[in-house]
């Protein structure tokens, strides 16, 4: 048994390829046989991944368990970003130009709305200083904006941990719910996918959710979603923090 774990651990990335292939194969069968394609196979596979991560336990989900460490390599930020960039092959510049200034507007409004709602709920639940307000508000944008804001304004590590948790919860909710709500939100063309990505942010949630909805829309949503994180990192620790600081004093 120990030898097997050793081999799997040493060849982690290759084992991850096999494991993910297996998860996808079974998920697509479940999607076809049990739900008649109503729930997309990709959505089931992603939910299975999240469940495994929960039972795996540690800081890196299932990848914290010996023999499964390769999952963190395959699903790490380098491979994720590389694969996201490659989806740009399916996007056309003329579609992006059509969205134009509204795309930029979405980035700002999405950041401000998440910041205000996140910070206000935190305020109502006892995190009343400007630093915590800004950090929790940043976490409501994405799990990258939260810790960057917290680090910049000097928030406590407890609040920063909460802000990461908020961002992760948001991305989990977006991942699972997008395929079901996409039609109701009118996400069926490149423009609405870009608006969706720009407002919601959460690159991993948006792109995973869109992948399970309609893979053709992934590059458009992912493009604006990555700029949402950039916008959040720009606005939250600066202008938005100054405003909150002024109002709370």
């Amino acid at each position: 048994m120990n030898e097997l774990v050793g081999i799997l651990d040493k060849n982690g990335l290759v084992f991850a390829f096999m494991l993910v292939g297996l998860i996808m194969y079974l998920s697509y069968i479940v999607s076809k046989k049990l739900t008649n394609h109503k729930i997309p196979g990709a959505a089931i596979a992603i939910s299975v991944g999240l469940l495994l991560a929960y039972f795996g336990g540690g800081e890196k989900g299932l990848a914290s368990v010996p023999a499964f460490t390769g999952l963190a390599l395959l699903g790490g930020s380098m491979m994720r970003d590389f694969a996201i960039v490659s989806t740009a092959m399916g996007a056309s510049f003329s579609e992006i130009k059509k969205t134009g200034w509204i795309g930029l507007f979405c980035l700002v409004i999405g950041t401000v709305v998440a910041f205000v709602i996140g910070g206000s709920i935190g305020y109502a639940m006892g995190y009343r200083d400007a630093k915590s307000f800004a950090t929790i508000g940043g976490g409501a944008c994405t799990f990258i904006v939260g810790p960057i804001t917290g680090g910049a304004v000097g928030a406590s590590s407890e609040v920063i941990a909460i802000s990461i948790a908020i961002g992760v919860i948001k991305s989990v909710i977006v991942t699972i719910s997008t395929p079901f709500l996409a039609k109701r939100m009118g996400i069926d063309n490149p423009q609405s996918a870009m608006i969706f990505g720009g407002i919601v942010g959460s690159t991993s949630g948006v792109s995973a959710g869109l992948a399970a909805t309609d893979p053709k829309l992934v590059p458009y949503g992912a493009l604006t979603a990555t700029f949402h994180t950039a916008m959040g990192c720009l606005l939250c620790p600066s202008i938005l923090y100054f405003i909150v600081n002024y109002l709370l004093h």
Binding site: F17, V20, L62, L74, S92, S177
Partner: protein, 124 residues
């Protein structure tokens, strides 16, 4: 050769990251600001240019397309290596903020989407 496509992709990726990093540094933040977005924009423009000049060989293109089909598997591996337990143990604040922030964003999407559609229709 397929590797040419992969190399072009890698080049865009790295240049995007360098731009994002420089932007973050110039604004005194220890983060990469939109590196992936810049890389995507570059690849889209490059792809448009290649198509216009008709110089992209199918073999080269397939090297890039392979990675875009690997996208979903990568996302599944990513979700399996998230700290889901910590996200749920972040307590009520994390859960409530996460839920309400998402709902608020969702509510905005159809509104702005409709506005954008009306505007593009009046233009035409």
């Amino acid at each position: 050769m397929k590797i040419y496509g992969v190399a072009i992709l890698a080049g865009c990726f790295l240049i995007g990251h360098i731009i994002g990093d420089a932007l973050g540094r110039s604004l005194h933040m220890n983060g990469n600001l939109g590196g992936v977005g810049f890389a995507m924009l570059m690849l889209i423009l490059l792809n448009d240019y290649f198509k216009k000049k008709n110089i992209l060989k199918p073999e080269t293109e397939s090297g890039m397309l392979f990675w875009s089909t690997m996208y979903i598997p990568v996302v599944i591996a990513m979700s399996a290596s998230q700290n889901v337990k910590a996200a749920l143990s972040g307590g009520w604040v994390a859960l409530l903020v996460g839920i309400f922030a998402t709902i608020a964003c969702y509510a905005l999407v159809p509104l702005i989407s409709k506005y954008a559609q009306n505007k593009s229709q009046t233009k035409q």
